[in-house]
């Protein structure tokens, strides 16, 4: 008698974007009373649930089962989310992205880099150089990577922690590594080929994240960053791991990223000759870049729940893609494969 009510339902899942989401949804729902088995599918963004829910209608079940996963940003529904592509968002997102790109080029043309002068670099000067750097072409690398990363995390429902960890990782590593440079008097310079590889990786990562942010081409999901499901299934807390270690490490890695300002500050730090002076110089520099970088990461989470979020993610995606292409082209230019295209 009991099994008469056992049925299999298929629901569409809104907000399912990654392999970790699949696991999370499966584990949350399988604990729900009445549920016998759960199978979530990323490519169709659906979940197949077999269970005994009495005489409830499909709609009621969808509502009921949405409750345990709501906090993570997912909802179940009967219909496919046809409008998720929302092409109309592009009408606003494209002009926004182009305007910001134009602003970026204008800032470079104005010669803000020439605002910095003088040969003695105090902590105040290092801070100012940081501010200028955060408005310069370094933005294409560090800012672009940060934007792609924070928007991606916000999209899967993780708002504040990854952003804070990124900035924490950046500030701490700049202090510690700056101190090391000051003490050792040696600077970590990547040679041409290492710089090329790093540029290429950053460019590709940004390109994939940018395309994912557009939420239009599902193809890119196949290449999505993250751990394959068969591995993540065996390490239970993979979603946590992803969301804290990754941004922290990305923050640390920014120390080595190809940004002329960062590198010349490192060269200067060489001459300080002490851990404290070196560390504080690089820390002041990182602090100077913080306001603009913080603005970038926190712009993503303030927007998540508003009705404009589609426009935001699409604008962010377009900007990230433009920066990614900019970085990839420059990587090829520097290694001598193609002639220079940009000259600011």
């Amino acid at each position: 008698m009991i099994d008469l009510n056992k049925k299999t339902y298929t629901f569409h899942v809104h907000g399912m974007h990654c392999n970790a989401c699949v696991l999370l949804i499966e584990s949350e729902l399988s604990n729900y009373p009445g549920v016998i088995s759960v199978k979530a599918k990323l490519n169709s963004r659906s979940v197949e649930i077999t269970g005994n829910f009495g005489h409830k209608t499909e709609g009621e079940i969808a509502k009921l089962l949405s409750v345990p996963i709501e906090d993570n940003g997912y909802t179940l529904s009967l219909e496919k989310q046809i409008d998720s592509k929302n092409w109309s968002d592009f009408k606003i997102a494209i002009p926004i992205a182009l305007a910001l790109a134009a602003l970026f080029v204008l800032l470079q043309k104005l010669g803000i880099v020439n605002l910095v002068s003088g040969e003695n670099v105090g902590f105040g000067t290092a801070f100012l150089i940081g501010i200028v750097a955060s408005l310069s072409t370094c933005m294409a690398v560090v800012g672009g990577l940060l934007l792609s990363m924070s928007a991606t995390f916000v999209k899967v429902g993780d708002k504040i922690k990854p952003q804070l960890l990124f900035h924490l990782g950046r500030l701490i590593s700049f202090f510690v590594l700056g101190g090391v440079i000051g003490t050792l008097g040696a600077v970590f310079t990547l040679n041409i080929s290492a710089t090329f590889v790093l540029n290429l990786i950053i460019g590709m990562v940004m390109l994939i994240l940018g395309i994912n942010l557009l939420d239009t081409f599902h193809l890119a999901k196949k290449f999505q960053l993250g751990v394959p499901k068969f591995i993540s299934k065996h390490t239970l807390d993979i979603s946590k791991w992803n969301h804290s270690i990754t941004p922290l490490l990305v923050g640390v890695v920014t120390f080595f990223m190809p940004c002329g300002f960062t590198q010349s500050m490192q060269i200067y730090t060489l001459s300080t000759g002490s851990f404290l002076a070196g560390g504080l110089t690089m820390f002041s520099f990182a602090l100077g870049t913080l306001p603009v970088l913080a603005l970038i990461s926190f712009s993503s989470f303030s927007i998540k729940n508003s009705s404009k979020s589609g426009i935001f993610f699409k604008s962010a995606g377009l900007i990230v893609i433009m920066f990614a292409l900019f970085n990839l082209i420059n990587a090829l230019v520097v290694i001598g494969i193609i002639p220079p295209i940009f000259n600011f």
Binding site: V187, C259, G260, S264, N330, V334, G336
Partner: protein
């Protein structure tokens, strides 16, 4: 006195020949200046890059065809030896991120 009426940007103001050596001077700050230099081919050449309070990308100099990569001091000058160039060849220098560049045309 100098070969180089062919290109626009400068007519060799930054090029001098001392003791049979051609010296090309380039300022690096917020980009490279001049961006285009007409130089003489077939004579020993030294590139002199000057920085003054340079903290931007132009301090991270790359010359791909020479396999050259150096972080310039914030203020000062460095010398780069350039092997003999045939007429019609060009050497391009740029910053490590690729957004600033300069060209030396040899004729």
């Amino acid at each position: 006195m100098f070969a180089g009426e062919n290109s626009g940007d400068n007519a060799g103001n930054n090029v001098s020949i001392v003791d049979g050596k051609q010296i090309i001077e380039i300022d690096a700050k917020g980009g490279y200046n001049p961006r285009k230099t007409a130089a003489k081919a077939d004579i020993p050449t030294v590139l002199k890059i000057k920085t003054s309070g340079t903290f931007d990308c132009s301090s991270a100099l790359v010359i791909p065809s020479l396999g050259y990569r150096k972080n310039l001091p914030p203020s000062g000058e460095i010398l780069v030896d350039i092997p003999l160039q045939k007429a019609g060849s060009a050497i391009q220098g740029m910053c490590a991120m690729g957004m600033y560049n300069f060209t030396l045309d040899f004729n």
